[in-house]
């Protein structure tokens, strides 16, 4: 045993690359965004870039991103909850559960540029569905106000990864709702609805809140899907992207300030989320 201990005493060196790596590729770059956001072109410090964020068009881009993320998180969260419950509840064949997990795993990972194109091919101006509606059903969705390039259209595409993400995250929690609770509730005279109102939803609430915050962050960080559909969308990630891919890096500090702003939005979400979560989970261990 003694010799074993001696042999192991230098083995911690093997962990050095890991810590060096996280510092070099995670912490220092993050710190440089933080510092850069408060710098100006002449490498002095200033708040001017931060102040710019509060003006048109940047503030609108934040608003667009936050709205899109909130809406897709809420709708995706609720619909995902229902789909997951439909697959896991009693009476649904077992194979549906594993199939749903597999498909959700794939769909949650099928994002970005290919997803954008799948929606262009479906609901774009020449999309198969658009033409099908127009030619077969004589219903022109464009004339009725739908555009894939709008926030609604981008939101529809986002749902393709929001729904399965919700299903994957919430399924274990739904599995945790015990049969005994449902039966005890019925036994005491409660309807299905009353069970969900007083027991099921409150028990799931901490998990639902956690999942929805995850969905929010997921949509808020998304860039490629929106870019693939409409490279001029009014989203903060598109704005940041434009500063780099446009090959005109006129004010990199502004891009860093915008990135810093995204941090702040996520931090605010966490500040709202944590007390909500604590309240919802006050009964838990």
């Amino acid at each position: 045993m003694r010799s074993g201990r001696r042999r192991l005493s230098f083995a911690w060196i093997a962990t050095l690359p890991f810590f060096a790596y996280t510092i070099l590729f995670l912490f220092l770059p993050a710190a440089s965004v933080l510092i850069g956001a408060f710098q100006n072109d002449k490498s002095g410090y200033s708040l001017s870039n931060i102040r710019t964020l509060f003006h048109h068009p940047y503030i609108d881009a934040y608003e667009g991103s936050i709205k899109l993320s909130l809406v897709t998180a809420a709708i995706g969260g609720i619909a995902g909850l229902f789909i997951a419950y439909a697959a896991l509840r009693e009476g649904t064949p077992k194979w549906i559960r594993s199939t749903l997990t597999t498909f959700s795993g794939v769909a949650a990972n099928f994002g970005g540029i290919p997803l954008a194109f799948a929606f262009i091919a479906s609901l774009g101006p020449l999309g198969v569905l658009t033409l099908f509606f127009k030619n077969q059903l004589h219903f022109d969705i464009t004339a009725h106000g739908f555009s894939l390039f709008s926030m609604t259209g981008i939101g529809l595409a986002y749902m393709y990864f929001q729904l399965p993400l919700m299903i994957l995250v919430i399924a274990p929690a739904i599995d945790g709702v015990r049969k005994e609770w449902r039966e005890a509730s019925a036994n005491l005279g409660a309807s299905q609805f009353q069970f969900w109102r007083y027991v099921g939803i409150p028990v799931l609430m901490p998990s639902i809140l956690g999942a929805i915050i995850l969905l929010f962050g997921n949509a808020f960080a998304a860039y490629a899907t929106a870019y693939g559909i409409n490279s001029g969308a009014n989203l903060i990630t598109i704005f940041i992207g434009a500063y780099y891919s446009g090959n005109v890096l006129n004010n990199p500090h502004l891009a860093q300030a915008m990135a810093f702003g995204m941090f702040v939005v996520l931090a605010v979400m966490m500040i709202v989320y944590i007390p909500l979560q604590r309240r919802a989970a006050r009964w838990a261990k």
Partner: protein, 261 residues
């Protein structure tokens, strides 16, 4: 089955399949006439040099990411499980950071921090981009591997191996690694899926990878892009399918949510 269950499952199923089906129909249309049906778009993709070139770059990048990730994460997680389990929450917290930080913020930071670094690093996908992708893969690798290590008794295995006279490196390679193979594979497939689909960082740092090629075709070719999209979807399926196959074995209830948004 309850009618409401049928409704929701049908809704979910339609949402999943309709875009795939329409993309497939789209990909069969002729690029010249816009009429169905031809396999010409698929043949266009397969005979395109850029397709193979960028696919190769992305695939090699994925391999590099996997190798680097395993090389730095496995010894660390092993060490933490064996000697300082108190550090496990710290590692878990670190692993969550790349989850929380949007890739676009990450690339902004990386570009600023590494601006002016040597060309062999900054201008090469094998340097800068692989460096970023290891961080992207970190959460998926970490949670897969951590689950793998938790499912085996690291202590007993290590002590048994040492009592037989093995050095710790021998223990790691001959005893520990074979036991966490499934977990390492699961993490690797997730990393593969991420790198093969990653657009944001590659685009902002101006590297020519497979997703960049897809977007180029989207913008310029129309119908062939449908074929390319389905092929990309096939890659996701293959990676996820392999993940589920290795996941059947014990010790890999890994996070299965990667993504290139």
């Amino acid at each position: 089955m309850a009618p409401s269950a049928v409704f929701w499952l049908l809704l979910g199923g339609l949402y999943f399949f309709i875009p795939l089906l329409t993309t497939f129909l789209f990909s069969l249309k002729s690029n010249q006439t816009g009429k169905c049906c031809t396999a010409a778009n698929y043949s266009w993709v397969i005979h395109n040099g850029e397709f193979w070139h960028t696919l190769k770059i992305s695939f090699l990048l994925a391999l590099e990411t996997i190798v680097i990730s395993l090389a730095i994460f496995v010894p660390t997680i092993y060490w933490v499980h064996l000697k300082v389990p108190k550090l496990r929450p710290v590692l878990a917290f670190l692993a969550l950071i790349p989850f929380v930080v949007p890739p676009i913020v990450m690339v902004v930071g990386l570009l600023k921090f590494y601006q002016g670094s040597p060309n062999w690093f900054y201008a090469q996908p094998w340097g800068f981009l692989a460096g970023a992708y290891v961080i992207l893969a970190f959460p998926y690798m970490y949670f897969s591997l951590d689950a793998g290590f938790r499912s085996i008794d690291v202590h007993t295995l290590t002590e048994a191996s040492q009592s037989l006279g093995a050095r710790w490196t021998t223990t790691l390679f001959k005893v520990i690694l074979p036991n966490i193979r499934a977990a390492a594979l699961a993490g690797s497939f997730l990393a593969l899926a991420i790198v093969m689909g990653e657009y944001t960082i590659a685009n902002l740092s101006a590297f020519h990878t497979f997703p960049i090629f897809i977007q180029y075709v989207n913008e310029t070719q129309g119908f062939p892009a449908g074929a390319l999209t389905l092929m990309s979807f096939g890659i996701t399926w293959a990676a996820m399918g392999s993940l589920l196959l290795v996941g059947r074995k014990r010790g890999t209830r890994a996070a299965v949510v990667a993504g290139a948004r």
